[in-house]
Every structure is written in structure tokens, then in C-alpha cells.
């Protein structure tokens, strides 16, 4: 990737250091913060306890939770799609979804039931976006899951399109039980470590907690302003 341009920097930063009253900062060590309460939140809880918290929080964010295991995933997803009365589904091109059972076989089952399925396809460019725009359901897989806020963390990539969880009216996240952590603290540390190790991070990282909503009209909560109107989290027990 070619390097971008930077304009107007020197004068701008020189003025800042002048106003602060010292020469330009050449190197700054991030200090050890005196208080770090974020690490104490649910620190001693095991996965079962965290999952209970997660499920309780999903009530607050208008998100339905379904628990299943590898054998039941196809059925759980099919039932959710049926419940949404949707006729078209788009999903990430993600091996983990395939392996969990949302594979060719599942798609042909859906076809028999009159539900059109589409897998996000980098070679099909605009077609993928157009399908996402008219699809009734979008399905993604959770890379990390935050118990405190009921959040799925989506590390986007070419195969894992940004619009899959945004454009369709209904959203399904498949959540492996093992992906759960107490809160955002653990997720951001992992990303921080990747940066420290010199790895590139995804061009978009999306923290999604339930459906789109707004309280801009008389402070009353309405769902689905721009993104999905309904969301279901399907928790997949580890094999």
C-alpha cells in the first residue's frame, strides 16, 4: 500500500509544544497508570458466570439469545431466519461458519425452503453489497465476545465484509462459547498487543451490541434507525 501524505504538520506541532512551554516531545513512555480498575471487573468469574452475565445484558439491549451446540446450530439458525420471515440471507465467507455447519449443505436446505443464501464474495464486488442491501438477514461470527456489555467484536477483513451486519434488517451473530471475555479491556489489550508486535490490525474493528437504536425523539427508545432492527445471538457450545 502506498504511503499517504501529511500536510501542515511541523508548524502545527511546533505551536503546540511552544504553548505547552517546552521543546517538541521526542520520545514519550506511556506511564504505568496509578489506578487500573478496569482489570478488576468480573476478574474472578469463570466462563459459565460470564455467560450468565452476557445473557442478562442481552435483555437490556433488545437482543434474543439462543444456546445450542454443534449439532443444533443449523436448526437454530434456520429457526431464527424463519422467525424473521426472511427470504434471503447473506453471511461472511468465514471458515468457522462453514465448519460450524452453515455450509453448502445448509445452503441447499435453505434453498429448498425458498430462502436464497449468498456468501460475501470479494470477487463479486458490487454484487455482494447489493445483495447485503436487499437481504433479510446478515450472519457473522464473533471474534471476541464481551460479557459486560453484550458485545460481539468483529475483526473485519476482505472475506468478512463490514456491511453484512449493517445493511440487512435482521442480524445473527454466531458466538463460540470460548470467545467470551469479561469486558472491552481484554479485547483492546489483544489488539494493543498485535500493534506492539508490529502486526497490521484490520481496517475496521466493529464492537456491536444489539440492534441499531436511537432516543432522539422525546428520549423514547426506537430500534433500527440505520442498521438492523432485530438481532439474535446464537451461542455455540464448544465441542
Amino acid at each position: 500500500m502506498s504511503r499517504g501524505t501529511i500536510q501542515g504538520r511541523e508548524d502545527f506541532l511546533n505551536l503546540i509544544s511552544e504553548k505547552i512551554g517546552r521543546p517538541r516531545s521526542e520520545h514519550v513512555e506511556r506511564p504505568e497508570w496509578q489506578a487500573q480498575p478496569q482489570w478488576d471487573v468480573f476478574a474472578d468469574e469463570n466462563t459459565d458466570q460470564l455467560l450468565e452475565r452476557f445473557k442478562a445484558q442481552c435483555d437490556n439491549i433488545h437482543t434474543k439469545v439462543v444456546e445450542t451446540n454443534a449439532d443444533g446450530l443449523r436448526e437454530a439458525v434456520a429457526e431464527t431466519i424463519g422467525g424473521y420471515e426472511s427470504e434471503s440471507v447473506i453471511m461472511w465467507d468465514d471458515d468457522r461458519l462453514e465448519r460450524a455447519g452453515l455450509d453448502e449443505g445448509f445452503r441447499s436446505q435453505m434453498h429448498t425452503l425458498g430462502v436464497e443464501t449468498f456468501v460475501w464474495d470479494t470477487l463479486k464486488g458490487e454484487d455482494s453489497i447489493e445483495f447485503a442491501e436487499r437481504a433479510g438477514v446478515g450472519i457473522t461470527y464473533s471474534d471476541m465476545t464481551l460479557a459486560e456489555s453484550g458485545t460481539v467484536v468483529l475483526l473485519n477483513s476482505p472475506e468478512k465484509g463490514r456491511l453484512v451486519n449493517l445493511l440487512p434488517e435482521n442480524y445473527i451473530a454466531v458466538i463460540p462459547r470460548s470467545s467470551i471475555v469479561p469486558r472491552m479491556t481484554q479485547a483492546t489489550r489483544r489488539i494493543h498487543e498485535r500493534v506492539q508486535n508490529g502486526e497490521d490490525i484490520p481496517s475496521q474493528i466493529h464492537f456491536v451490541s444489539g440492534p441499531s437504536n436511537s432516543a432522539d425523539i422525546e428520549m423514547s427508545l426506537v430500534v433500527g434507525v440505520h442498521g438492523p432492527v432485530r438481532a439474535t445471538y446464537i451461542i455455540l457450545g464448544d465441542v
Binding site: 500500500m1 504511503r3 499517504g4 501529511i6 500536510q7 501542515g8 504538520r9 508548524d11 502545527f12 506541532l13 503546540i16 504553548k19 505547552i20 512551554g21 517538541r24 521526542e26 514519550v28 497508570w33 496509578q34 489506578a35 480498575p37 478496569q38 471487573v41 445484558q57 439491549i61 470479494t122 463479486k124 458490487e126 455482494s128 453489497i129 456489555s149 458485545t151 477483513s157 476482505p158 463490514r162 456491511l163 469486558r183 479491556t185 483492546t188 494493543h192 500493534v195 497490521d200 490490525i201 481496517s203 475496521q204 474493528i205 466493529h206 464492537f207 451490541s209 441499531s212 436511537s214 432516543a215 432522539d216 425523539i217 422525546e218 428520549m219 426506537v222 434507525v225 440505520h226 442498521g227
Partner: protein
């Protein structure tokens, strides 16, 4: 829309606010809802004071090394193929965005909510070039469609409008024919805006926090409009005010946690979106071109002064939601896009005292704002400092106020004089006192007592009462 909005005269704006019974009702209930939710969700976190300390420490450190972190941020953005433009003034920032729009031969721009672009009047600049600019945050969209009505709250910009008014706006301007039910209105707006997203050439966003270590900008929203603004148009321009930056992802966690809880009482909003550069070559959604505009616009003048901590603000509006003055007069009375206590502190700093000399007086100095601030900005102390400057240096204040501030300044700094002064207060105020109330106070008290009585200084000072009480307790 510039930094300053609405009627020029402060008293006219205040009176208008006080006369608007509906607005006062919604403001009161919004304050209560937001404050209660904030309290509940911050209690859940355990040690809220430790969180505030951490928030303050992070903001202080980052501001003290702002040049370093901005340099790191811009290098990282450029490494990922993004373009960075440092704008000293609003005009420079606007000129850059206009230039990008020209190069892209853009016709339509979709925006997600951004305070700094409001401050810069960016929409006006783009519209003067014949571009169509669409605000996509529901509250901002309502205001835009209603002939650019100014926002009245930092987090909930259309708070002053009721459902019937909002319905009428859409019926008049957009041919909306359904009910005034919030769900029906939202459904309609969803359809309208979806088309705009799909048509737009450029998406413009603000930036809640930029992460220096990776060149990432983050957007905190509940609606997900920021996500569509950045995923659909081919070009993305993010505009950030220079202080909205954290060193690493670990601090992003802390600041976002404080913001969501303090602003809306949520653990996290529905969407936190972290964007690093343009899309990669084989990605099919996301912007092909990414520009970051970093704006000073008067902020560097605040650095190194007694007001530096005002730049710690993370725009959560927690101070607004507890302010008794905001509760009575509403957001428009401040005449600034930044309202409430932080607006009264920040607006004179960014726009000078001349046109904003009334704002630091729009406060009861009860310090509820300081208590509420998640990053410990001493807001009421900044308001007092503004008053001192206005009365002493700028020669703008009314005479009695000058006299009072001088007395307070001398008195408060010399314990003996303070004791004498507070003993005298009861006697000095006697001409205006009826029973235990002052209903027609002199000088600086007049504006206050026009609306309510002020308790008269007690003939017994608190210090004396407390000393007496302690003595009698120890006697027992």
C-alpha cells in the same frame, strides 16, 4: 452552523427558554433519565472514583504530550495509506475538505454527527460549492430538515422538539404522511436516509477518539449511521479536534467506557467503530480513500493556561445533565453549539469573551458539574476563573460584579479578611433582605433574584455554628 448560534442577546435567549414550558419539561425529564441511568451504570462498575482518576490521568498525560501523540498518529495513518491534513483554523480545514470534494467531483456527502465540523461551519462551506450535505444522525437530521434549527444538547441535539413538531417538520419538508409515533417517524427516516447513503460520494465523520499507536479513529454511536457513512461512500473524511486522542488501544477502552456510561448510561453504545486507514485492496466495502483532518481552531491557545483541563472534555454531557441552570433555560440559551457547563467554559475560550461574557454567569456554581465529570475537569472553578478575568482584565463585567469578585478574591485569599467578610455579609445584605429571603438583590444577584429568592446570609456563620456544635458534642 458556526460555534455561536441563535439570538445574539443572552437575556433574550434565556427568556425564550424560560417561556418554553414544553422544552423545560423535556429537559427536566431527559436530565433525570440520563442522570439516573448514569448513576446506575457507574455504580455497577464498582469503584467509579478510581475510573475517574484513571480517566483524568490519561487525559492529562496525553494533553501534556499532545505533539508527540499527534505526530505518531499522523505517521501511522500515512503508513496505512491515509492522508493527514493539519488545519490551524476552521477556514484551512474547510478549504481542505472542499478541495477533496472538488477532486472527487462529488455531488452528495453524508455525515455522521460531528461537533467540530459544526464549529467550523463546514456544511455551509460545502453547500456554497453546490454540494448536497446530509446529516444522518436522527437528531441532527431532524434539525437539518427543520431549516437548520440549532442543537440544544450535546448528546441529544433535538431534545427541545416534541413528536408532533418533528412529525410536522417531516410532513412539510418530506411529504411524510404517517403518525407522530416515534417508531413510525424513525421507519420513515430509515427509508429516506438509506437512499442517501447509497448515493453519496463522500462520507464525513467526526472522531470520538483517535488511537495514536495504530492510526485508528473511533466512532461511538447507537444508530450505526457512522458505520454506513464510512462503509458505503468511496471517500471518507474524518475531522477531529486535535485533543481527541489516546496513546494506545488500552486507553481507548477506558475513555470509551467512561463516555458511554456518562453520556447515556450504557455499558457500551450499540456500535463502537474503529477505523484504520482506507480499505485494503481486496476489501470490497469501506472507503478507497481516507483523509484525516486534525483541527486546532483556537485550542492551542488553551494549552499551557489555567484552562488546559477544559481540553480533557470527552463530550459526554454529564455536566449538562446535572446542571440546574441548563434545566431551567435549556440548551439554546447558551447560544453556542457547546452548551451547559462545559459550553460556558469552552465557548469563551474558543470564541473570546466579547460575545460570550454572560456564559460564565449562567451557573449557580453549585459544582454538580465538577462532581459529574468523568475526567474530573474542575468546571465550576473554570467558571469562577472566567468571571475573574471578565471582571478584572477584560473590563467587561458590570460594576457590582467587579467589586464583588475583587472582594471575593482578596477575601478568599486572606483567611482573616474572609472571616471578617463572612461575618459582615449578613449586615451588608440587610437592606435587600425580607425575613430570611432576598427577593430583589443588587448587582450580580439581580438576575438570579428576578426568578427566585435567595436565602439571606445567616446571622450565624456556618463556621461558627459548626465550631459551637463540635464544642457541645465534645461536652457530652
Amino acid at each position: 452552523m458556526p460555534l455561536r448560534v441563535g439570538e445574539k442577546d443572552f437575556q433574550t435567549r434565556v427568556n425564550r427558554g424560560l417561556e418554553d414550558a414544553f422544552m423545560r419539561g423535556t429537559v427536566r425529564s431527559a436530565q433525570e433519565q440520563l442522570r439516573t441511568r448514569k448513576q446506575a451504570s457507574s455504580e455497577e462498575l464498582g469503584d467509579w472514583e478510581a475510573w475517574r482518576t484513571l480517566g483524568e490521568e490519561i487525559r492529562t498525560h496525553t494533553l501534556e504530550h499532545l505533539d508527540y501523540y499527534l505526530e505518531q498518529l499522523s505517521d501511522k495513518v500515512a503508513e496505512r495509506g491515509g492522508h493527514v491534513y493539519f488545519a490551524k483554523t476552521a477556514e484551512e480545514g474547510n478549504a481542505y475538505v472542499r478541495q477533496v470534494a472538488r477532486e472527487k467531483e462529488a455531488k452528495k456527502i453524508v455525515k455522521s454527527k460531528s461537533m467540530v465540523t459544526e464549529e467550523m461551519s463546514l456544511n455551509d462551506a460545502l453547500e456554497s460549492d453546490g454540494l448536497e450535505v446530509v446529516e444522518t444522525d436522527l437528531g441532527e437530521y431532524i434539525l437539518q430538515v427543520d431549516d437548520h434549527d440549532p442543537p440544544s444538547h450535546i448528546v441529544a441535539p433535538s431534545l427541545h422538539k416534541n413528536r408532533a413538531q418533528i412529525k410536522d417538520v417531516f410532513a412539510d419538508k418530506k411529504g411524510y404522511e404517517n403518525s407522530d409515533n416515534a417508531n413510525d417517524i424513525t421507519r420513515f427516516v430509515r427509508g429516506e436516509l438509506r437512499e442517501e447513503f447509497l448515493d453519496a460520494d463522500i462520507g464525513i465523520t467526526g472522531c470520538n477518539f483517535a488511537v495514536a499507536e495504530s492510526g485508528t479513529i473511533s466512532l461511538v454511536t447507537n444508530e450505526g449511521n457512522g458505520d454506513l457513512v464510512t462503509a458505503l461512500p468511496k471517500t471518507q473524511i474524518s475531522v477531529m479536534s486535535m485533543e481527541r486522542i489516546v496513546p494506545t488501544w488500552e486507553e481507548l477502552d477506558v475513555m470509551v467506557s467512561l463516555l458511554c456510561r456518562s453520556a447515556v448510561g450504557q455499558k457500551l453504545t450499540s456500535y463502537i467503530t474503529a477505523l484504520t486507514g482506507p480499505k485494503s485492496e481486496d476489501e470490497i466495502d469501506g472507503p478507497e480513500d481516507f483523509h484525516l483532518v486534525i483541527v486546532d481552531n483556537g485550542r492551542s491557545d488553551i494549552l499551557g493556561t489555567q484552562f488546559q483541563s477544559a481540553l480533557h472534555c470527552i463530550r459526554c454531557a454529564a455536566c449538562v445533565n446535572v446542571c440546574p441552570v441548563y434545566r431551567h433555560v435549556g440548551g439554546h440559551a447558551y447560544g453556542s453549539i457547546y452548551n451547559g457547563p462545559i459550553g460556558a467554559v469552552l465557548t469563551p475560550l474558543l470564541d473570546g469573551y466579547e460575545d460570550n461574557k454572560d456564559l460564565p454567569y449562567a451557573s449557580s456554581l453549585c459544582a454538580a458539574c465538577t462532581e459529574a465529570c468523568p475526567v474530573n475537569i474542575p468546571l465550576h472553578e473554570h467558571l469562577i476563573a472566567h468571571r475573574q478575568i471578565i471582571t478584572e482584565k477584560e473590563n467587561l463585567g458590570p460594576m457590582p460584579e467587579k467589586w464583588a469578585m475583587k472582594m471575593f478574591g482578596t477575601g478568599a485569599s486572606a483567611p482573616k479578611l474572609y472571616r471578617l467578610g463572612s461575618k459582615q455579609a449578613h449586615r451588608v445584605m440587610r437592606p435587600w433582605t425580607k425575613g430570611s429571603r432576598i427577593s430583589n438583590g443588587p448587582g450580580p444577584l439581580k438576575a438570579w433574584t428576578n426568578f427566585r429568592d435567595l436565602p439571606a446570609p445567616s446571622s450565624e456563620r456556618f463556621r461558627d455554628w459548626f465550631a459551637k456544635r463540635r464544642r457541645s458534642n465534645s461536652d457530652e
